[in-house]
């Protein structure tokens, strides 16, 4: 089956980007909104067609999903080191294409209403298309080098979009922070790629992840400090993924990234870019599982579990609704990472892998919905903070119902999509690592609590007297909300294990009723607690937070991680390490250069007297030279 047409799926948004970007001052805003949306719609149709063809017609051969690769030679360094560019169509790339195109298209539609009247409207759609192109290129990348190129492109798009309100200093700082932190993580990624490429001789995904191929079977051939070299490479690559996916300790950029417009937060920092790290680990999953018996995979699991817990605790205390959603995203990605981390490879044992991808799919839907609904609310109330909201259910019915659906989904309420995906994750964790399972259940309870804290705080709480009566958003904004709400319920009923699995073969995943009951119970406890604390205004929450004292303060300040990094950079790196080097450079290196210059000037001052301008001095020199020459000649003549 020839899947080369899939190259057009990312190229159409690229063309839209070039068209809108080069003509941003000549195109009318409404037209650019239509062009962007239309381009995305074409990509969407192509993606769905590819998915239909792959999953239902040609993908499966003898029960095993095939990987279709079409590649072209791009650069040749030596006979053995060659870099290709290509498209790789397999289960997860097709699934990601659907996620990216769907969410991107809905965000385009939403932005037509949300960004209306903004001066940089065309620029916004150009950047959105650039991002979509980069993300689609990332998921279809055929080798490590190509994925790195698109990885950086996605980072650039994120920078451009976060810093969209470039006149606001906090937005500019946030954009820089995001780019610098992810770039720093990408250093690890690059070193990991180079290690992997050097020791296995290939960058290609198909060759690297073949369980019978030379890359995996020879993993023990070289080792460094007790671990295989490939393990180090995989851990470094995971660092890159952790940076992009905002795992601890590289998560600091994600809350600040909420300075960008809300559709950007929905698209990039909820549904697509932040899951790039998860996608990377999933793409290299056979390597992670087989090399050193899953050492690197263990690291992935614990980083994911810790990040999930860490973020959930912080999310309990935040007052800015977008920050709560940002930490919620970090927590849910922690779930995806931990699901990958506890997964094995064959058949039903690969449940973690399947659950992680399933959760990625459903999370994209309900998280995008949450962000877009938050955007709708912020648009109506003109404030990001919980204290300015309350009783909105009377003014914004559609936003209310869709937000409620998304909140129920993320809390794992039975019947909604999040219930199915989160349950699979917990089952996978239970089967392989009990401690991670308990952390997962606890975080599920926290998730339900902080989500419903938001819900009750926005839509119930009290009847706030608004100066401007908030009104429901226009149709361009509410239609995407409704579609996503539908997806937040319906996607749960897809038999994901039939389509996505670690060993490319379908398997059966059943609902584990006892574990599901525990998870649902914990979620319900969270919801009921939130109801008690937040439905009506009271100071119960205040008393509890004061009761926690220092713990509450640290959680509210995001556990002072930003301050810690500031301290390390300013006091230790700048003052202790950089300053001596700067002194050395300024005084010793520059001093030497200045010394050479000054010596020349000094010498010239001393000998410039030779050019006195007096004819008689020149004549004297002439005669003196003549006499000396004569003496030398006579001396040689006599001797």
């Amino acid at each position: 089956m020839d899947f080369t047409y899939t190259i057009y799926i990312p190229l159409i948004p690229l063309a839209v980007f070039l068209l809108l970007g080069l003509n941003y001052d000549k195109i009318k805003p409404s037209i650019s909104g239509w062009i962007g949306s239309l381009g995305l719609f074409t990509s969407l149709v192509l993606s769905y067609y590819t998915a239909y063809k792959y999953f239902f017609e040609v993908g499966k051969v003898d029960g095993v999903y095939q990987t279709f690769v079409h590649k072209w030679r791009w650069m040749t360094f030596t006979e053995t080191l060659q870099i290709d560019m290509g498209v790789l169509i397999d289960q997860i790339s097709v699934m990601m294409l659907i996620v990216v195109s769907t969410v991107s298209f809905l965000v385009h539609l939403y932005s037509r209403g949300y960004m209306k009247g903004d001066t940089g409207y065309t620029k916004f759609f150009a950047f959105l298309s650039l991002f979509t192109f980069s993300m689609m290129g990332l998921v279809m990348a055929a080798n490590l080098f190509q994925i790195y190129i698109f990885w950086e492109l996605v980072g650039v798009s994120s920078y451009l979009l976060i810093g969209y309100y470039y006149t606001k200093p906090s937005a500019v700082l946030a954009a820089k922070k995001a780019f610098i932190v992810t770039r720093f993580a990408d250093l690890g990624f690059l070193i990991g790629i180079l290690i992997l490429g050097y020791y296995t001789g290939t960058f290609d995904f198909m060759e690297l992840t073949n369980p019978e191929g030379t890359a995996i079977t020879n993993w023990a051939s070289s080792s460094f400090m007790g671990l295989s070299v490939l393990t180090w490479g995989l851990m470094l690559i995971f660092i890159g993924g952790a940076g992009k996916s905002a795992m601890f300790p590289l998560h600091i950029w994600l809350p600040d990234a909420m300075e960008g417009p809300t559709p950007v937060s929905a698209l990039i920092h909820a549904a697509t870019m932040v899951v790039a790290g998860v996608f990377l680990v999933a793409r290299l999953f056979p390597m992670y599982y087989f090399v050193e018996d899953g050492f690197a995979l263990n690291l992935v699991a614990w980083v994911g579990a810790f990040s999930a817990l860490f973020a959930a605790i912080i999310a309990l205390t935040q007052n800015d609704i977008k920050r709560v959603l940002a930490f919620s995203t970090m927590s849910q990605i922690g779930y995806m990472m931990l699901a990958l981390g506890v997964s094995e490879y064959e058949g039903h044992n690969g449940l973690g892998y399947m659950a992680s991808m399933f959760h990625l799919f459903t999370h994209a839907m309900f998280k995008a919905l949450l962000f877009l609904a938050a955007g709708s609310i912020i648009h109506a109330v003109h404030s990001n903070y919980l204290k300015d909201m309350g009783g909105l259910r009377k003014y914004m019915p559609i936003t209310h119902i869709t937000f409620l659906i998304a909140a129920l989904s993320i809390s794992g309420f039975p019947g909604f999509a999040g219930f199915f995906s989160k349950d699979e994750i917990l089952v996978a964790a239970y089967e392989h690592n009990k401690l991670i399972y308990y952390i997962g259940v606890f975080v599920a309870g926290l998730t339900a609590f902080y989500m419903f804290r938001l819900y009750f705080g926005i839509f119930w709480k009290k009847d706030t007297k608004y100066e401007q009566i908030p009104h429901e958003s226009p149709a361009s904004m509410t239609i995407p909300l409704i579609v996503l709400a539908f997806m937040s319920i319906a996607t749960g009923y897809i038999h994901f294990s039939e389509y996505v699995s670690a060993d490319h073969q379908s398997f059966e995943a059943h609902l584990n009723y006892p574990l599901a009951a525990i998870a649902v119970g914990v979620g319900l406890i969270g919801i009921i607690l939130a109801y008690i604390f937040y439905k009506k205004e009271n100071n119960l929450s205040l008393k509890v937070s004061q009761g926690f004292g220092f713990l509450y303060e640290s959680a509210y300040n995001k556990f002072y991680i930003d301050e810690l990094y500031m301290f390390i950079t300013k006091q230790i790196i700048f003052k202790r390490i950089s300053a001596p080097f700067a002194w050395f450079d300024r005084h010793i290196v520059d001093g030497t250069m200045n010394l050479i210059g000054n010596t020349t000037v000094f010498t010239s001052k001393k000998i410039k007297g030779l050019q006195s301008g007096r004819v008689q001095d020149y004549a004297f020199a002439f005669i003196a030279g003549g006499v000396i020459l004569a003496m030398i000649f006579i001396y040689n003549w006599i001797i």
């Binding site: 410039k608 050019q611 006195s612 301008g613 007096r614 004819v615 008689q616 004297f620 005669i623």
Partner: protein, 105 residues
Amino acid sequence: MINGISIYEILTLTTIIFFIGVYGFLTRKNLITMLLSIELILNASAINFVVINTYLFPENLQGVIFSIFVVAVAAAETALAVAIIINLYKLVASVEVEDTEIMKF
């Protein structure tokens, strides 16, 4: 050939005249006086030619004839020097060599 005087004495004389001329050139202030010193140098060299010719190679005449050349050269060079001094006078209104120290550091 002068009886009773050897070549050495006359050569000593010309050397002394030559170096008096050099000294004069290097130390005089007035440009014209410097020209006089140059004449001394040229004359000393002319005497040198004649003396060596008559004392060492009495049959030939090249030395004597060459001294005529020297006189011609001296005349031409003096004319040129005076022309330069006149043009210089138009610039600095003086014939002192101290006033020509313009092209220096």
